[in-house]
Symmetry: C2
Subunit: 387 residues, 2 copies
Amino acid sequence: MEDFIFQSATKIIFGKGAERNVGKEVKKYSSKILLHYGHGSIKKYGLYKRIVKSLKEEEIEIIELSEVQENPVLSMVKKGIKICKQEKINFILAVGGGSVIDSAKAIAIGVKIKGDIWDCIVKKVKISSALPVGVVVTVPASGSEASDATVITNEEKLIKKGYHSDAIRPKFSILNPELTYSLNSYQTACGASDIMSHVMERYFTNTKNVDLSDRLCEATLKTVIENTPLVLDKPNDYNGRAEIMWAATIAHNGLLGMGRIEDWGSHKLGHEIGAMYDIAHGATISVIFPAWMKYVYKKNVGRFKQFAVRVFDIDAFSISQEIAAIRGIEELKNFYRKIGMPVSLKDLGISDERIDEMSAKCTAWGPVGNFVKLYKEDVRKVFELAR
Amino acid sequence: MEDFIFQSATKIIFGKGAERNVGKEVKKYSSKILLHYGHGSIKKYGLYKRIVKSLKEEEIEIIELSEVQENPVLSMVKKGIKICKQEKINFILAVGGGSVIDSAKAIAIGVKIKGDIWDCIVKKVKISSALPVGVVVTVPASGSEASDATVITNEEKLIKKGYHSDAIRPKFSILNPELTYSLNSYQTACGASDIMSHVMERYFTNTKNVDLSDRLCEATLKTVIENTPLVLDKPNDYNGRAEIMWAATIAHNGLLGMGRIEDWGSHKLGHEIGAMYDIAHGATISVIFPAWMKYVYKKNVGRFKQFAVRVFDIDAFSISQEIAAIRGIEELKNFYRKIGMPVSLKDLGISDERIDEMSAKCTAWGPVGNFVKLYKEDVRKVFELAR
């Protein structure tokens, strides 16, 4: 086990109708806020009204910034920073999924720094503070509601970059599973794929003696694998939605990676697809992850066998470690197919003509991943395995 | 799943030699502290020296209060409160196991309230603040290093009472597994028993649809069950000690109980034995828990079967739910025996003559437990099953 520091201080408020008290939580921080959201789907089912009502009850002044898009873009972040500075806003309430939360976090950084926000993200400039951010989650997927991360796309340069700091962990996050009833099958499945990837990026490690975190990872994966088909079948199943929503948070609040060297290579490859083609993150991951696994499993066959046995209940009694490992990868792929996720670039409608370009961009800052370090040629081979 | 609020904000600093930087962490809060510890075992292996050195480097003034005993007592808490008030101390550093941490937490409350600390604990008076507490853990067991709880014994009245408040969660806890090498077999096994009990008190619930937290509980139990025999065999096994130390924190920082109605009946019964006979908490638990399980398992045989199958790998294919459930209880008892823990009052050298008295005191504030509510007669029967 590696040494570590763990502090995930976000207050999680979980349950039915939890958003009705958002005003009281916000009021602890500010009386004038930026309300940040996406394309107005929050207006469809009354969520917007309930939130504004709760904020008004606490006499909180609201400045709105909506139209955050999937794979949130730098221009929106800059717009948010400008508004917050002009209006002297000192709290951001993000209502939405990972894109909205990530956009809010980037704005929260930008308001506090002097230089350019993109420079800060690219150069991984250390920050000591950011505006406080609160969240009402509508899509369980990114785990951004309790994570220290934001991922922003520079739409001019077609570059998608992640940034980490404890300063951007949300102060509170409201998780009401009922708010996820309206997600369609594709959104639900993309979310499941995203959640699982956050666990697997931590699970596939070369760090030895990580029994507890291995088992916590497996627990989270099994929960998502069992509950996703249930909610695809019955979208209004509170219990299934609740399991997935809580799993999304646990998967990415840092806990599952403690004491382990994490990988994150597959995310980098997925981000290249996302930046180039504007495809949902979860769909890029279901394409890349099995390909990545096939490319790297020989580095530690035992770990892949453990994954197969403990996560997919593969009976490894009478087969070799390697066959068990491969079956685990196949089972994961089958699971993605079962929930309607793409498992190849072809499924995404992407030809292989830009693989070279994506491989170059993916490794422009050096090799990616830790379980196996992937250089440009490796990345190309993973993309090719994903064709 | 039940609605819940979760916020466990303690900063965990985990790893080899981590205590060498305790001064820097303390300095963020205060330059004059109460250093609280037990009977000087921290002086045996140089820990005391390293801590004082680190504190001195940061020019922190130290007032010491040692001699905290197992099952920490009210008179010591009152002494600590008096010293803190007199000396205008505003930070407590607890170096030790659960007893020392719990004593520090109670002092931290007492300094901030006007009335009597025992009244506050017994009447569960809500507090809004407490002195900040930092911890260097030497015994992985209580989980007090990241919990919202303290348990204090009124040695005059022979009453042991628990108290909960988010205000007493430690600000930081330093966990260096090396510090636990010197624990003897009995201390190590008592710790394992205590950790497991914190998980099981949450596991045995009537709340339905708690897939993720069920699995997180099982993950933690399996980790303790696998690693305890390893460290009993090789006390200086860093990895085994690390797994147990991290499991102790996860078991009791609140995470595993989210969305579930917890039980805690067995703890109440164990506290009666602890208060009456001054026996280590972990040893009272290994006696009570199997007896409690036998008394209540019929309330939800399926859950006890799940425990048997997932935690002790019982093959339940060709046996009834009930037989599987009973085997799980027997396996737990066998595990306690294997690690040298008592499993009966007889093992503890306690006759049954005070069972009636303990049963009455245990239920003096009403029935205990939630999985099954235990009234005086039930408690007596559990004690009798534990003879």
